[in-house]
Amino acid sequence: MKKRLMTIASVILGAALVLSACSGSGSNGKPVVKVGSKNFTESLILGEMYALALENHGYKVDRKLNLGGTLVAHEALKKGDIDFYPEYTGTGLINVLELPPKSDAKEVYDEVSKGYKEKFNLIWLEPTNANDSQGLVTTKKVAEQYNLYKISDLSKVAPQLNLAAVPEFEEREDGLKGLNAFYGKMDFKSIKMFDYGIKYRVILDGQADVTVGFTTDGDLTNKDLVLLEDDKGFWPPYFVAPVIRSELNDKDPEIAKVLNEISARLDNETVQKLNAQVDIDKKEYAEVAKAFLQEQGLLK
C-alpha cells in the first residue's frame, strides 16, 4: 500500500516537473505569446483578435488584456510581462516619447518607430487604417441651441457649458492643455472627469454638455450626438498598430505576419462598427472579435 502511494506521488511529481518545464513554450515548440491591451473597448477587441489569430496559427496565448492606461501597458511591455499590445501613433509620439505633435500620418509613424526602437528596443508593426483620433462631442440639442458645430466656435460659448472630461484629457498636451493653447482658452463652467464607459451617457442625460470622444467610438453612430469639427486641425493622427518586443519579433517573424494580416483589414468604419457592437449592442468583446475574424476568413 505504502509503495503504491509512493508510485502515485512520484508520478504526480514527475508530471508536475514536466509540465512546469513546458510552460515556457507551447507543445509544438512555438513560444507562449503574452498579449496585452489597454482598458477600453477598442483595445480589448484588438487584443482579443490578435490572441485568437495567434491561437489559430498554433501559438499558445496568455491574455493580459485590460491593463490600465498607457502607463501600465507600456511598462508591462518594457518589462516583458506582455509581448505586444495595440498602441496609437499619436499617443506614442506625444505621451511616451514626449515629442511635439505632427499632423502627417506617415511622418508620425516613422518617428515613433525610430524612437521606440532606439529608446526601448520595441518594434511598431504595420499600422491599421483606423485613425482613432480624439474629438469633442456634444448633443444635438446643445449644438442647435448654441450653434456649435466647430471647435473654433467653442471658446465663445464654453463659459456656459459643462465639460465631461475623460481620464488623461485635462493633462495631456494633445488634450485640453494643447487645445487651449491652439484654439484659445476655453473657460468651461465646470470640468469633471468621468470614465470612458459613461461619458456619452453623461451628456445624453444632460449632466454635462460636451465630452471627449474618440473618432472610432461606436456611440458616434448615434444621431443624437454631434462630433465637433476640428476645423483648425489640432489633433495629430492616431493610427493604431501593435507594438512588439524586438526579441520576440526577431525570434519568430511569423507573429508579425499574423498581426499585420489583421491590421490590413481595419479602417475607421470597420473599427467603429466593431466598437458599436460592444458599446451599444452590449455584445461581449471576445465574441465580436471572433465573429470579425471568421467573417474575414482569418479564423478556421
Binding site: G68, G69, T70, L71, V72, H74, E75, N95, V96, A164, P167, E168, E170, E171, R172, K192, M193, F194, D195, I198, R201, V202, D205, Q207, A208
Partner: protein, 213 residues
C-alpha cells in the same frame, strides 16, 4: 526625488484644482463616515441588546460590503446617476461594517454584572447607557470608526471614475499618462490624509478613555 519635486511643482502651479480635489476628497470621506456612524452606532447597540436581530443585520451589512466599491458605483449609475451622490453611497456602504461590528462588540463586552451593579445603585436605563456602557464600549467603537475612516479615505479615489472628483482624478490621469509625478500628486495626499485620520482618532481615543488611566 525629481519625481517628487515635479509633483510638488504641479500641485503649486495648479493649486486651485489641487485644493478643490483635496476639499472634495475630505468632504466625501467625512460625509460617508458621518452617515455610517449615524446609521451603524445605533444599529450596533440594538444588535447588542437584541441578540436575535444581530444575525440578520450584521449579515446584511457584511454582504453589502462584499460588493466591490467600483461595482457599487456601476450598480447605482442607472438609479442615481453620476457624481458626488453615488460615490457617497458606495463609500458609506464601505464604512458601515467596521463601525457596526465594533459597536456591537463594544457593547457586548460590557460585563452584565457591571450593569447589574449600576442598576442596583438606582441608575435609570438611559443613565446606565451614558455613564457606564458607552464609556466602556467607546474604545472599541472608536477603533471601528478609525478603521472605517482609513478605508474610506483610500477608496474615495474611486469617485473620480464617475465625475465625483477628488484626489483620484490625479491618480487616474497619472496612471493613464505614464506620469509618476502626477500620480503622486494624488497618491501622497491620500496617504497623508489616511495617516492624519489615524493620528486624529488615536488622539480622540486617548482623550475619551482618560478615565481608565
Amino acid at each position: 526625488m525629481e519625481v517628487l519635486s515635479q509633483a510638488i511643482e504641479y500641485a503649486a502651479t495648479n493649486s486651485d484644482r489641487f485644493w478643490e480635489a483635496v476639499r472634495v476628497h475630505v468632504s466625501i470621506s467625512l460625509y460617508a463616515l458621518l452617515i455610517a456612524v449615524v446609521i451603524c452606532v445605533p444599529l450596533g447597540i440594538v444588535c447588542a441588546k437584541k441578540q436575535w436581530l444581530s444575525g440578520p443585520i450584521m449579515g446584511l451589512f457584511n454582504s453589502l460590503r462584499v460588493i466591490p466599491s467600483l461595482a457599487v458605483l456601476v450598480i447605482l449609475l442607472p438609479l442615481i446617476g453620476t457624481g458626488f451622490t453615488p460615490a457617497l453611497v458606495a463609500l458609506t456602504l464601505l464604512a458601515c461594517p467596521p463601525v457596526l461590528i465594533n459597536t456591537y462588540m463594544g457593547f457586548r463586552s460590557v460585563e452584565p454584572s457591571i450593569i447589574e451593579a449600576a442598576s442596583g445603585m438606582g441608575m435609570s436605563g438611559g443613565r446606565i447607557m451614558r455613564k457606564v456602557e458607552l464609556p466602556l464600549a467607546l474604545p472599541l467603537l472608536l477603533s471601528g470608526v478609525k478603521t472605517a475612516a482609513v478605508e474610506v479615505i483610500a477608496s474615495a479615489t474611486l469617485a473620480a471614475f464617475i465625475g465625483g472628483g477628488g484626489l483620484g482624478t490625479f491618480i487616474i490621469n497619472g496612471l493613464g499618462m505614464y506620469k509618476f509625478s502626477l500620480l503622486l500628486v494624488g497618491a501622497i495626499p491620500v496617504a497623508l490624509l489616511a495617516i492624519l485620520s489615524e493620528i486624529g482618532f488615536a488622539l480622540i481615543e486617548r482623550v475619551s478613555t482618560r478615565y481608565a488611566r
